[in-house]
Symmetry: C2
Subunit: 341 residues, 2 copies
């Protein structure tokens, strides 16, 4: 569709705009280009590129700015090979020594690192809990009126749930814990239902009244378990996007991140480990239509996907950020595949 020279010019314009944030004029390109081309010629090409929708002018007699379509072409065809500098590589790779800490903490660390390295806003999701099978379980007495239920899934996620539950001792709770565990171990969390729990009554007939009391509480609590855990960091970096100099817009974005339900939308359609890029209006969330979002998924124990999104200005350094995100994703996949544990 576009000839080589047009592509070159488009790339130069976008590179320059990403760098400066100012509309790019024909003279700038003429001087930068190694084609030995005059500004007049560049102007002609620019007019064509604008007609095709890759560029636009904020006003007559201003230089050009890439449109969303222009960025799209840029990220798909005009990015140089992804490369990641060795400092970043070493930093990210340091996640590997985290065999000692929990999976959730690894993700937190990864999000923190990505925020540092990109200077942008980073969001991650951790694979679901409800569909996992139960591996361990304990009831722990906290006070006369409260008991803590600890659930451990096969993917090492731990959930603490506080239950209102009085008049029992830790010894009885231990017995109930063990019974519960032997009944439920291997079920998926979402499959745990009253029927299964009720079986307890027969195993532990001497505590029937306790069990009667516990069952409905347990059922309600299990229903309320959050499906996915999210981590967010660097929201304040939104402030450095010039489009958000208006503080009302910034507040909207903040509100957006406070309500974690929106992350479902953010990670919608991310179904493999590829790098997904959404530019401006391509984002479903219209609060983000001045942003670009780079998303990918890491593989958790070969069968589930955790997700990572980096949110920044449309003028972000796509090449650098994609490479860092990709490297982080691969590292996480490696860690969770167990190779390095």
């Amino acid at each position: 569709m576009l000839n080589t020279r047009q592509l070159q010019i488009l790339k130069l314009i976008i590179d320059d705009f990403i760098d400066s944030g100012l509309p790019v004029g024909s003279r700038t390109i003429s001087k930068k280009s190694s084609l030995g081309i005059s500004s007049a010629t560049v102007r002609n090409e620019m007019a064509d590129l604008e007609e095709l929708g890759y560029l636009y002018q904020p006003h007559t007699s201003a230089g050009r700015i890439p449109s969303d379509l222009g960025y799209r072409l840029y990220v798909e065809n005009l990015l140089d090979d992804r490369l990641i500098n060795s400092e970043s590589r070493i930093l990210i790779r340091s996640l590997l020594v985290s065999g000692k800490i929990s999976a959730g903490e690894v993700i937190e660390k990864a999000v923190h690192l990505l925020t540092q390295l990109t200077g942008l806003t980073v969001v991650s999701s951790f694979p679901g809990f409800r569909k996992r099978t139960l591996n361990n379980l304990k009831l722990i007495k906290i006070s006369d009126a409260k008991v803590l239920l600890i659930l451990v899934s096969d993917n090492e996620i731990v959930k603490n749930i506080t239950l209102p539950f009085s008049g029992t001792s830790q010894d009885i709770l231990d017995l109930i814990s063990n019974s519960l565990l032997s009944t439920l171990k291997g079920s998926t969390i979402e499959d745990i239902d009253v029927k299964k729990i009720s079986r307890l009554k027969y195993d532990l007939r001497q505590f029937e009244s306790v069990i009667d009391y516990l069952v409905p509480i347990l059922r309600d609590s299990l229903k309320n378990i959050e499906e996915i855990e999210y981590h967010v960091e660097g929201v304040e970096n939104i402030l450095s996007i010039p489009e958000f100099s208006d503080s009302e817009k910034v507040r909207k974005i903040y509100k957006l991140f406070e309500d974690k339900t929106i992350f479902k939308v953010l990670f919608n359609n991310i179904e493999d480990e590829g790098i997904y890029i959404k530019i401006g209006d391509e984002n479903e969330l219209l609060e983000l239509n001045e942003c670009s979002v780079i998303t990918t998924a890491y593989r958790y124990k070969n069968n589930e996907l955790g997700k990572i999104a980096v949110i920044g200005s449309k003028r972000m350094d796509y090449r650098g950020i994609i490479s860092v995100v990709e490297y982080t994703k691969n590292t996480l996949t490696d860690i969770f595949s167990g190779i390095y544990l």
Copy 2:
């Protein structure tokens, strides 16, 4: 020092400035005041008040703005009786039905409510953990390589600590848990030391090698326990303070809240259940010298203090906010004193 009329005028000026945010002129006060006083007279009084340091002019020929000293006088002597509207009262009182949920969750809910009611930034601290005595403890196997240590304090705080610990079964962990608990129950968390833990070796001679492995890990983990838990909400409301239209300042504040060590400074010197007010430069943290901070402490189980701070513009509605904060504090104290459990 100041006569009644001067106080009245100062109050009118500050009320007006809090309302409008614009320098207040003599004519405005002359019209508002029920004293039947001309603007010229007000001007004379204003000149006096300025000389005494309670007011200042942003420039000649502008109206007056209260100085930090003026605000100080205002909050100490000129506030009407604190009153709280019944909707707020009901909302806050609804925290009482939270006997079912954990203390930490109650605080979170309270912080959320305060953010809603004040429209400002709210920070809270929850009483220390290290100085509490240990009430319960469990080791739970998460995977082949990881064990979760659950600690429960006498004030119902629960800590999860993941330990790298391989090659053992839940049965052995249960035995160790029980031994550990009987050894440590009643110690304060910070008093748990290697000597005490080592006693295990003699109780559980058959698992000597396991214990040898566990002790140093446990010791290191206990050292790293966070003293105090903090909750923050509504940081985005900082954006609506006009002094923070400069986005660089906002970033600084955000950075401030990311590093929770600063909360220690914030809650420094708050040692009883009174209402503390810091205005502008009175704040130790110079990032907050355009803000006012209202702080108080709720009583936790009669012997410890949790703390609450509301951070907003110097132009905040002191009366309303103080009353809401005070009512929340009292409600939390009631809840944790156990009266309503």
